[in-house]
């Protein structure tokens, strides 16, 4: 890969509080342009990627205590293997908690029941018995289940505001039919919960649940989302999820971006960031050890003179370091260089930013395809996926990106399935969940694809 010396100009500039003698930061903040050199003399849109990379915690590091609430659907449709596997998965999750952790368990059908109220597990045997005795019942009061789960988690919110990881694990196989049930309402509830530090991970099982609702709730509360076709995969998913939760290294992560002068932030791609004039803000509830999360931002950049350097943004990140129990700050400045030389511009394309940019475009295409299909525009939906697949393929070839190539293949096969089978519940769930996982930059994307 060819690089240009100018690329150095957009390198990481540490503005933070770290002095020379201190340990290296837990979370590194990096800002990159899709092209390190921009065409000179024209108004243009540039894509910026602000990356937060969390270090893996040292092996001996003491992990943060967790406040876990499992919210289990025990509606009639869960009967049989599903509830059996859900019980097994809950028991598995329970076995991985320690004496410092807080656990609660809510079940819901037509009614919401607090089976195990939030508390440190003193009587593990009794908790196991209670889980063993979960049986299926009636309807799906999902909203009530989530509300009650949040209420249990809240019992430990004030006592341990920073030192604890608060997580709700919601399992559902059906459509919410008691209380508020729209994806928008549940998404907004998720957004409200994350303000309190609660993330909701949603696990949809089977083909009857409302994936829009489940992905919205997870995405907007900064939790993970999973689609489980076969109930025996539940234990694996729970394990994966608990693994993530146990591995939280930073919480209350806030990225604040200020754009100077005539540079204007246009939109964030894949993430819901708040844009106010020249300022962009994104909040993440947590970062897992070894995880990289980023914000893709489209900027309106004014015409730049040849060889001139323009500051595009200053990024600040604040987070609570769970390993050292303190708030840490990082910062970086992104500069752009302009050139009329097309070759030079091409040579300075940043393949990693391109990769993520195209992956997010893929996610957007999936959501768009669902929307079009449901408006009765099947052909357009297929076309959107096909075009996107092709676009990703070309980009993958141009920048030599394996991940993108795989994803282009996935999107092409999704488009083919849409053509042959139509938007079956399974296809829809796959498209929606993949899109959400991509936007969320979910660390655990565990997919149990039978195709």
């Amino acid at each position: 890969m060819k690089t240009f010396p100018f690329a150095m100009l957009s390198a990481v500039l540490l503005l933070g509080s770290l002095s020379a003698g201190e340990m290296k930061p837990l979370v590194r903040c990096k800002a990159e342009l899709d092209r390190a050199v921009l065409p000179a003399g024209q108004q243009q849109t540039a894509v910026v990627k602000i990356t937060l990379a969390a270090e893996n915690p040292p092996v001996k590091a003491k992990r943060a205590p967790i406040n876990l609430c499992i919210v289990l659907d025990r509606s009639g449709s869960m009967s049989g293997d599903k509830i059996a596997q859900a019980r097994k998965a809950a028991l598995e999750a329970l076995s991985r908690l320690g004496s410092q952790d807080v656990f609660s368990l809510i079940t819901y059908d037509s009614e919401v029941k607090t089976l195990i109220p939030a508390g440190q597990l003193k009587d593990l045997g009794r908790a196991r018995d209670l889980i063993h005795n979960i049986h299926t019942g009636g309807d799906t009061a999902l909203f009530g289940g989530v509300s009650q789960g949040a209420s249990e988690l809240r019992k430990y919110l004030e006592d341990a505001p920073k030192g604890m990881v608060h997580r709700m694990l919601l399992l559902s196989d059906g459509k919410a039919n008691v209380g508020p049930a729209s994806a928008d309402e549940l998404g907004r509830l998720g957004k409200s919960l994350v303000k309190e530090g609660i993330s909701v991970t949603t696990i949809g099982i089977g083909t009857d649940y409302n994936e829009d609702l489940m992905t919205q709730l997870a995405q907007r509360s900064d939790g993970n989302t999973y689609f489980v076709q076969e109930s025996q995969d539940l234990v694996g998913i729970f394990n994966e999820e608990i693994g993530d939760v146990l591995n939280v290294v930073a919480r209350e992560v806030k990225i604040i971006i200020e754009c100077p002068g005539q540079v204007r932030p246009l939109r964030s791609i894949g993430k819901e960031a708040r844009i106010r004039g020249q300022q962009v803000e994104l909040k993440l509830n947590q970062l897992y050890g070894g995880q990289e999360r980023y914000l893709l931002l489209e900027l309106d950049v004014p015409p730049g003179e040849e060889d001139s350097v323009l500051p595009l943004l200053d990024a600040r990140v604040e987070y609570h370091n769970m390993l050292r129990s303190r708030v840490e700050k990082q910062g970086t400045r992104l500069l752009a260089r302009f050139s009329p030389d097309e070759q030079m511009i091409f040579d300075n394309i940043n393949p990693i930013v391109q990769n993520d940019y195209y992956l997010n475009k893929g996610a957007e295409a999936k959501d768009e395809a669902i929307r079009l299909y449901e408006e009765g525009k099947k052909d357009e939906a297929i076309l959107v996926l096909e075009r996107n697949g092709l676009e990703l393929k070309q980009a993958a070839a141009a920048y030599d990106l394996d991940e993108l190539l795989l994803e282009s293949g996935n999107i092409m096969s999704q488009s083919l399935r849409l053509q042959q089978e139509g938007l079956t519940p399974t296809n829809r769930k796959e498209l929606r969940t993949e899109a959400a996982q991509e936007k969320q930059q979910q660390k655990s994307k565990l997919r149990y694809d039978k195709y």
């Binding site: 909203f143 509300s147 803000e281």
Partner: protein
């Protein structure tokens, strides 16, 4: 009436009819009880509903106060926009924040400036206000609520964690709490008026309903389903699954949630509901019916047994009476014939024969007397002439009556020596006396004596008739005073009689205000006869 019809009628009249009557009365009572119960339940539900609404309202008022304090602080701060952004970031019940000029124009977020989708939609949603088409001042600005110290405030907004720093001591600004309807969704805008305009927030309704959901579940305590519905009747939240979707009662939520109504439904598993009450009542009723049938059955059986026994006793009586009549008649006829034919020449033998004739005619007379007495008593035709007299006057008559029988026997009767002034029927008393003495002569002859003692006790005379015969075993004692009873009812019995003597004696004694009973004794048999003392004669 034939033999079968009578028990049937009896069964109907003793068991079925009362049971039916009881059932009817029970059903009416139950109906009343049920109505009363339902009335109570309705009243209780209304109280519950009103109380629940009050709790919800208190929580909403607490929330209103919190926002008043927050917004006042923000309005007075140096950098209100920064403070608003912080509020939006941290407060789970805040969806959007804004600041506007006096004329309504939005100052923050700035319309037209780069912004996210949510902000654009927010500005659009309240365009009528921000463009000045609608007035910011609504007539009904909210009064400061009377906050109660012990409200559910804490449980409702627990975890928000901002309340502590949000209190301003300065004079309160006027707060507007405005319900908004947009694209078929309800929203609430809260703002205070500052010098140059307004500062406010839009509530996050999903988060609000989520907290109301938990609150309602706590209030209903898993007993009564409480639901909150919006203006279209769509459920916003419900505390537990109701039995059906028809609410029993509903109340408007009032100023702070003007588009919502609180409803109460029938619980799925009523723990103390009308049906439970009915089951209990039905069970009770069933038990009563069963008990009546059982009691009726037992009673009927006892009646049948008694009827059979009486029938048997009557048959025995008739044959006994025939026999008793026949024996003296035969003797009379035989002895009269012998005397008439002059076959007995020895004057001593003649005299003995004549005595026998006298004895047998006496016996016959007694028999007839007893039978007549019995039928009179049964028919209630015997009229007693109660008067004061000395019982001792009758002793001679008794002795006389028994002379024939006592003659030649070693048996002696010892009457009381002092006068026994009584208040009774002279004939009836004499008859009792005679029956008791006669019995002793008949059954306790081997004891050779009968002691009669008279004792005064609480205005009554107690006369003890103590003999020294074989006495009575428990079986003999049981039916002693019943009609047609004889201690030995076998055909081979030694002593004659109708089995009416003691029965008649007891009835007479009782009709005269006294009694006749057996009293415990160590030897022979002992009868105790009580009769009222004379009112005028004093001893």
């Amino acid at each position: 009436m034939n033999h079968f019809a009578r028990p049937t009628v009896l069964l109907l009249s003793c068991v079925v009819l009362p049971a039916l009557l009881l059932a009817g009365a029970g059903a009416i009572l139950l109906q009343h009880e049920r109505e009363r119960w339902e009335q109570n339940a309705r009243e209780a539900e209304l109280r519950w509903l009103e109380q629940s609404r009050r709790e919800l309202q208190l929580s909403m008022e607490a929330l209103q106060e919190e926002f008043r304090a927050e917004l006042e602080n923000i309005a007075r701060s140096e950098q209100p926009e920064q403070a608003l952004m912080e509020l939006q970031d941290e407060h789970p019940l805040v969806r959007n924040v804004f600041r506007s000029a006096r004329d309504g124009r939005a100052l923050y977020p700035v319309p037209g400036l780069n912004s996210d989708e949510e902000t654009r939609r927010f500005l659009l949603r309240y365009d009528a206000l921000f463009s000045g088409r609608l007035a910011w001042n609504v007539d009904a600005e909210l009064e400061e609520p009377q906050l109660q110290q012990e409200s559910t405030y804490n449980s409702f907004i627990k975890g928000i964690g901002r309340a502590s720093k949000a209190w301003s001591p300065a004079a309160p600004m006027s707060l507007t709490w405005r319900a908004w309807h947009w694209e078929d969704q309800d929203a609430i805008l809260i703002y205070v008026s500052e010098g140059n305009g307004y500062v406010g927030v839009e509530l996050e309704m999903a988060a609000l309903w989520s907290r109301v959901d938990v609150l309602l579940r706590n209030i209903s305590e898993g007993r009564v389903p409480l639901g909150l519905i919006d203006r279209h009747g769509r459920p916003l939240t419900i505390s537990m699954e109701p039995k059906d979707n028809a609410p029993h009662l509903e109340l408007e939520m009032g100023d702070l949630l003007p588009f919502a109504r609180l409803q109460i439904y029938a619980p799925m598993n009523p723990s103390s509901s009308s049906s439970g009450f009915l089951y209990a009542a039905a069970l009770l009723f069933g038990l009563i019916l069963l008990a009546s049938i059982l009691a009726g059955g037992i009673g009927l059986n006892a009646w049948l047994q008694r009827s059979r026994r009486e029938a048997l006793q009557k048959t025995t009586f008739v044959s006994n009476v025939s026999h008793e009549f026949k024996t003296p008649l035969t003797t009379l006829r035989l002895y009269s014939e012998l005397l008439l034919e002059g076959r007995v020449e020895d004057p001593e033998r003649q005299k003995r024969y004549l005595r026998t004739l006298l004895q047998e005619s006496d016996r016959l007379a007694r028999l007839v007397h007893n039978v007549l007495d019995f039928s009179r008593l049964e028919m209630g035709k015997r009229n007693l002439q109660i008067e004061d007299f000395d019982l001792c006057d009758g002793f001679d008559a008794v002795h006389e009556a028994l002379t024939a029988r006592l003659q030649g026997a070693a048996f002696r009767i010892y009457f009381p020596e002092a006068p026994v002034p009584v208040h009774a029927d002279r004939d009836a008393a004499g008859q009792i006396l005679l029956n008791l003495c006669d019995n002793a002569v008949k059954y306790a002859a081997q004891g050779e004596r009968l002691d009669i003692q008279a004792l005064e006790h609480e205005g009554h005379w107690q006369l003890r008739f103590q003999d020294y015969g074989q006495g009575l075993d428990s079986k003999q004692r049981r039916g002693l005073f019943q009609a047609f009873h004889q201690s030995d009812s076998s055909l081979t019995r030694e002593q004659g009689g109708t089995g009416l003597g003691l029965h008649i004696s007891r009835r007479l004694a009782r009709e005269m205000g006294g009694d006749l009973s057996l009293c415990p004794t160590s030897e022979g048999a002992c009868f105790l006869w009580t009769l009222p003392r004379a009112t005028e004669i004093t001893t």
